[in-house]
Symmetry: C2
Subunit: 128 residues, 2 copies
DNA sequence: CGATGCATGTTATACCATTACGAACCCGAG
DNA sequence: CTCGGGTTCGTAATGGTATAACATGCATCG
């Protein structure tokens, strides 16, 4: 049956809008921006966001309750984010497969890591 | 003047409740638990949580929108958290002063890191 | 005393996210 | 073709998280 590689209309709208933004956007930011395109209710945005996350095309920024388009090359592997508290810019960076001190701790506790969140808050080069 | 080492009544109530819990508690969990002690509105809980965070006695778990008591020895340095998605237990672990790959990235971009969030989601030893 | 600072109390509001239910649509099995 | 099942879409309602605005009490200090 082949994968479902194409996006639905709503997913496409949300994804396009995120790729055009330097900052993370909240679901309600997206809703406000896309009302003219036919999106009317939060649940529609959240549905699109959920699928896009499943597909690995976007990431959720936990400390902002907001979302960014993925800028990985190849959209693979885990990522961390650097968030400028002054201008709001979010930059994604690849996480190495193993962060030694963390892996070591997890192995010692027999904790099985399924997802890793790394978010740096601070000042970007132009705002420091 | 002397230091502000003591907690106010509300801060003490919130802190004691958090130290007694294995899991992270939301502000509203705390509110419900402490209504009998005189806390009545969310803002009172958030005020206490804010001060406790300033004092380094508790931490916010971004991916849960909830809070845990600090279990550092000495309450100093940065921390990461391992969160079991099955039982909810949260374990704090010390972050080394320098996570080499991340530091390297930040240095290369001239990003000044002011706060680091590291949260591992997965299964604890007893739930895996 | 009056001024300052800080903790507190109360109400209201804003912001974030999901549940529930039904209609429309696509597509493959029979 | 017709009947499913699966996915998307629309709408309404609700639940959970966080802050704004403003008033009051109370200690300290000049
Ligand atoms: Zn990515
Ligand atoms: Zn900046
Ligand atoms: Zn700690
Ligand atoms: Zn567990």
């Amino acid at each position: 049956m082949i994968g479902k590689s194409v996006l639905t209309r709503h997913q496409e709208l949300v994804y396009r809008h995120l790729t055009g933004s330097e900052k993370a956007l909240s679901a309600y930011d997206l809703l406000d921006a896309l009302r003219g395109e036919g999106l009317r209710a939060p649940v529609q945005v959240y549905r699109a966001l959920g699928k896009l996350i499943d597909h690995g095309l976007i990431h959720r920024i936990e400390s902002l309750n907001a979302f960014v388009a993925c800028t990985h090359e190849g959209h693979q592997g885990a990522a961390g984010f650097a968030i400028c508290d002054a201008c709001g810019e979010v930059e994604e960076f690849p996480l190495p497969d193993h962060l030694a001190p963390i892996d070591h701790w997890a192995a010692g506790r027999a904790f099985r890591v399924e997802h890793t969140t790394v978010e740096l808050r601070g000042r970007c080069q132009t705002c420091r």
